[in-house]
Amino acid sequence: MKIVVIGGGAAGLGAAGAALGVDPSAEMVVYTQFEDVAYSPCGIPFVHGKEIESFDRLFLATKQQYKDQGIDVHYETTVESIDTKRHVIKVQGEGEVRYDKLVLATGWNYRDPNLPGGDLKGIYRVKNIQRAREWDSFLDTVKSAVVVECGLIAVEMVTALVHRGIKVTVVDPGPWPMAEVVDPDIVDPVRAGWAEAGVTTLWGEQVTAFGGNGTLSYVETTAGRIEAELAIIGTRKVPNSDLARAAGIALGGTGGIVVDARMQTSAPDVYAAGDCTEIPHGVSGVPLQGLSGSHAYAQGKTAGINAAGAVREYQPVYVPWAMLAGEWMIGGVSFGETTASAVGMNYVAGTAKGITRARYYPGVKPITVKLLADPDSRCLIGAQIVGGEGVKERADFLAVAVRAGITIDDLATMENVYSPAIGALNEPIQMAALAVQQNFRR
């Protein structure tokens, strides 16, 4: 059996490896338009910020290791079209290539802000590791930068640029950082931290043009002109699904490829995984696109296993997420108040402030947990967290709690670890659940 994968990111290489795990005799070919496969693009801001010493650290494996595994990766090779009826793809420089099973893992792009001057040098989209190496040297020459919209990678880039001593201005049409996913009270410490670090923020404003003579020297915004040698594009992720669309494969309202739990698309023997797809949300059922690398990898493995002839089902998502934002960790699960209000979902919320270790133990950090519960079933439907540490673990736990239908009453009586160096007497999740219970009584 010949399995062809288009895309060499987490989903593509996850699919290739998992498929070979099921059927080691399968002929496995991966096409990528880039110079490398399977590195962590999310790690790029941390190399720019000098927290990680080298871009080489971001690679998961060497090219030889993929070869040794039996994965034939065609680098810098563009797939031009797919003929799903004939089971062939057209590859630049190779002609028509037959497949038995095809996995689309074509990933994402930044939404194009489509602004005048968008082709000037000095406009950086953080994604490709080879380009990142070139940009890293350029950053040494930059004094002032503008971040155009404040998506998740852009938030990490703000920290990186501050670490490099670059003056940063954030211009975002939203009212606070990551306003599509985070509530204002949760992100408030991040805003305060940025202000302290000298970051200028222009919320509710938009970039209208880039200017300069061949190279960026200023950015025009609705709040006026800003001198800058660098602009970071931080617009939201959009699916790279053009190849699928041209092949007549069904796309959903997000623009992502429509898939079922086995990651099968509308075309026979064609699977899709990662940011080019859309996956239903576990609480609302609304399809979501643009999830994390861990989602892409798990979806890729599901697609690969099914493509190779075994059966695995992926689940609707509850989207636990967490990240470093300045000196803070911030994260969440499923709904926050803003997103729940946007879809018109009723909820009762409660917030608690706690600490991450015993109050006397060195390194103790503050943490705030907000929980949202469904008023009828009292089940947890979402959470948001900000703190100095321990955010990721709580987000993961709460994602399982939402998925399992755990109620706020279960959480209000939960047991928790107490050990001075790693956990306080009162667990902030339990305290937040008690706050929700109180608000239910009002």
Partner: protein, 99 residues
């Protein structure tokens, strides 16, 4: 861009903007963003209030009727609230007390 993509993109943008304004106000955050174009006015003053007036059931049916991955086969969600652990008997009943 297909009709459903156009609808999803715009409805998401303006429903979020409306929610940000309400949640921002509740948290003492001034949210700017007066409608700048005719398109802004349509989505903010006609679409958003209409969406909010729809009963929950109708709203969910409309969302479900849109093409997308949610209309394909997916594992069902766990029962809500979850049933008690099979070993647990509270007050002689196999059901946890609910408030």
């Amino acid at each position: 861009m297909s009709f459903t993509q156009w609808l999803r993109t715009n409805s998401q943008q303006y429903l979020l903007a409306d929610a940000q304004q309400r949640i921002g106000r509740k948290n003492g955050v001034t949210v700017y963003g007066k409608p700048r174009t005719l398109k802004d006015r349509f989505w903010r003053y006609i679409f958003v209030p209409t969406y909010k007036m729809l009963p929950n059931g109708l709203r969910e049916s409309l969302i479900h009727a849109m093409p997308g991955s949610h209309r394909r086969a997916w594992p069902k969600a766990s029962p809500r609230p979850r049933p008690p652990h099979p070993f647990v008997k509270i007050n002689g009943q196999g059901q946890a007390p609910r408030k």
